[in-house]
């Protein structure tokens, strides 16, 4: 169980003295994944770099358990930051690259090679790997040594869906007793993995809440059926082939499904069409 509290108090941060983040304040202390959402250039990476202590806040403070991170290198070493750059010595083999980091920060390269199924890449040079493979090796760094807080900047970018799912599962497992901040552009991924939402817009904190609390009031369900269902339920057929109904809670979708099935119509697919955070992202994030 995470026993640490990460607190940002009125943080302004940026580059060359020009702030990108303005007056960011929040407290994260729950063992879970905090999804950091925001459009390109909103300041997500700057937020991570500031928490990791790479950027010194221009104003305000980043506190871990009440202690100022800027003044303590030891506190900073309790944080693992996975940049969206792979940060791999490309001239090395995969094993040597992981050993390079384990010599620096501790941990066992063999363990992470097993954990991320990297055995077949072990003796390949990093420069010879595909972007997705490099990402896997980069993610392996995260698991070298146990930390208290993990900052993962778009960890599943460039990964195929299968591997993305595996990585998300590993991160979910990790988040059971750790505090994980996870940035993503993928709204489906965000709802899959996250419990809490940190929405950044134009460098400002637009929202900090539980994802469950910020779902849209109504959402669209798509149904594929063997016959026309527009006379049975209030649905419209779209070009995609889906009959679309709008509901405000799961019960309504269930009732609609029962009505259709009772008429002897075969339903082959039923799914939520839009991401629950889409509207929020469009409204607050753009």
């Amino acid at each position: 169980m995470n026993t640490h509290t990460l607190e940002l108090k009125g943080v302004d941060s940026g580059y060359n003295g020009k702030p990108v983040l303005h007056n960011i304040s929040f407290t994260a202390k729950e063992s879970s994944v905090y999804v950091v959402l925001g459009p390109n250039g909103a300041g997500k990476t700057t937020l991570f770099r500031t928490i990791a202590g790479i950027l010194e806040p221009l104003k305000g403070r980043v506190l871990l358990d009440g202690k100022d991170m800027a003044s303590s290198e030891e506190l900073r070493s309790n944080i693992n930051y996975l940049s969206h750059y792979n940060a791999l010595p490309e001239e090395m083999t995969v094993y040597n690259a992981l050993k390079f980091y384990s010599d620096m920060e501790g941990g066992d390269p063999e363990k992470v090679i097993d954990l991320l199924n990297l055995s077949e890449l072990r003796n390949k040079r990093v420069s010879d790997l595909s972007q997705g493979q490099k990402k896997r090796v980069s993610i392996a760094k995260v698991f070298l040594r146990e930390r208290d807080i993990y900052l993962l900047d778009e960890p599943t970018a460039n990964l195929d869906p299968g591997l993305s799912k595996e990585i998300r599962e590993l991160i979910l497992k990790l988040s059971k007793d750790k505090l994980v901040l996870y940035s993503s552009h993928n709204l489906y991924e965000a709802t899959d993995i996250g419990m809490n939402l940190i929405l950044i817009k134009d460098g400002k904190l637009a929202m900090f809440d539980k994802i469950a609390n910020v779902r849209q009031k109504s959402y669209r369900m798509g149904i594929r059926a063997s016959k026309d269902i527009t006379k049975i339920v209030d649905a419209k057929k779209e070009a995609s082939g889906y009959y679309v109904i709008t509901v405000s809670k799961p019960d309504e979708a269930g009732l609609a499904l029962r009505k259709i099935v009772e008429k002897g119509i075969l339903v082959t697919e039923m799914r939520e069409l839009d991401n629950p955070l889409q509207e929020l992202f469009d409204k607050e994030g753009r």
Binding site: G53, I54, S77, L88
Partner: protein, 270 residues
């Protein structure tokens, strides 16, 4: 850093400086090949210096018929004869000329630093709690290690060549120069690497130019040592070269110690 160090495996071969030095050689072999070629040139320069010196000694003492007599007179000639005149320090020209292969062999470390910056490796090091100074130290130590290893091979090679071709007297005559060459090489490569790491992180537009500029800066740091032999007599010129070494070491050290204040962490980001 304390926590990071706890997790590190001990052993010289795993030390960050050794790993960085190995990596520098791993990313390019070209500069090593050029350095090897330059070393042959440098040995030729040394040979010339020894030849000129031994020739001067023989000329200054027509009674010297054997090598042992030549030895004593040769050394004497430098100190009391040629050595007392302004410009008699010309053998010391070998000192800055010999720095050229050292500049070449230090260049891969500069390249590695830029490469690590662009790849996000420096950013990761910062995220581990390392300071700007820690990072600079890692690359500086690697450079000094390379220069030291190189000088341990190069200087005895020069002396052995001189001994075999020109005899013990010739070697004895130029003996202060190889002893100056080692500290001079260390401060020159140290200065070069610190200056270029500073340049690389402060360069606003990534326009490259790190290698030619680095070599130019390295050469510029040796430039006063080219003038010294023409201005001072041999003995004084040695002291002048020592002053140059101390000055370069001081500038490098000041830059290293103030790195945290002079260069913000964000400059290390890709």
């Amino acid at each position: 850093m304390a926590m990071i160090k706890d997790g590190r495996k001990s052993g010289i071969l795993n030390s960050p400086a050794v790993v960085t030095a190995r990596r520098a050689f791993g990313i390019t072999k070209t500069y090593i090949a050029i350095a090897a070629f330059m070393s042959v040139m440098a040995i030729a320069v040394w040979g010339n210096v020894m030849y000129v010196n031994s020739g001067a000694a023989t000329a200054s003492n027509s009674t010297a018929l054997n090598s042992s007599a030549g030895n004593a007179i040769s050394s004497n000639a430098i100190v009391t004869g040629i050595g007392s005149k302004a410009g008699s320090g010309t053998p010391l020209l070998a000192l800055p000329l010999d720095m050229v292969p050292f500049l070449m062999i230090a260049t891969p470390v500069v390249l590695l630093f830029v490469y690590d910056k662009n790849n996000g490796v420096l950013e990761y090091m910062l995220s581990l709690g390392m300071t700007q100074r820690d990072i600079y130290m890692q690359y500086l130590k690697a450079t000094l290690l390379i220069a030291l290893i190189y000088s341990v091979i190069f200087i005895p090679a020069v002396l052995a060549y001189g001994y075999v071709v020109y005899g013990a007297s010739a070697v004895a005559a130029v003996l202060p120069i190889p002893f100056l060459a080692i500290p001079f090489a260390l401060v020159v490569v140290g200065f070069l690497v610190m200056a270029m790491m500073g340049f690389s992180v402060l360069q606003k537009t990534r326009a490259g130019s790190n290698q030619p500029l680095g070599l130019a800066i390295g050469w510029a740091s040796t430039a006063p040592a080219y003038l010294v032999p023409f201005i001072f007599p041999f003995e004084t010129a040695i002291y002048a070269d020592i002053v140059i070494i101390v000055a370069l070491a001081a500038v490098t050290l000041i830059f290293l110690l103030s790195a945290g204040k002079l260069i913000r962490r964000e400059k290390f980001l890709p």
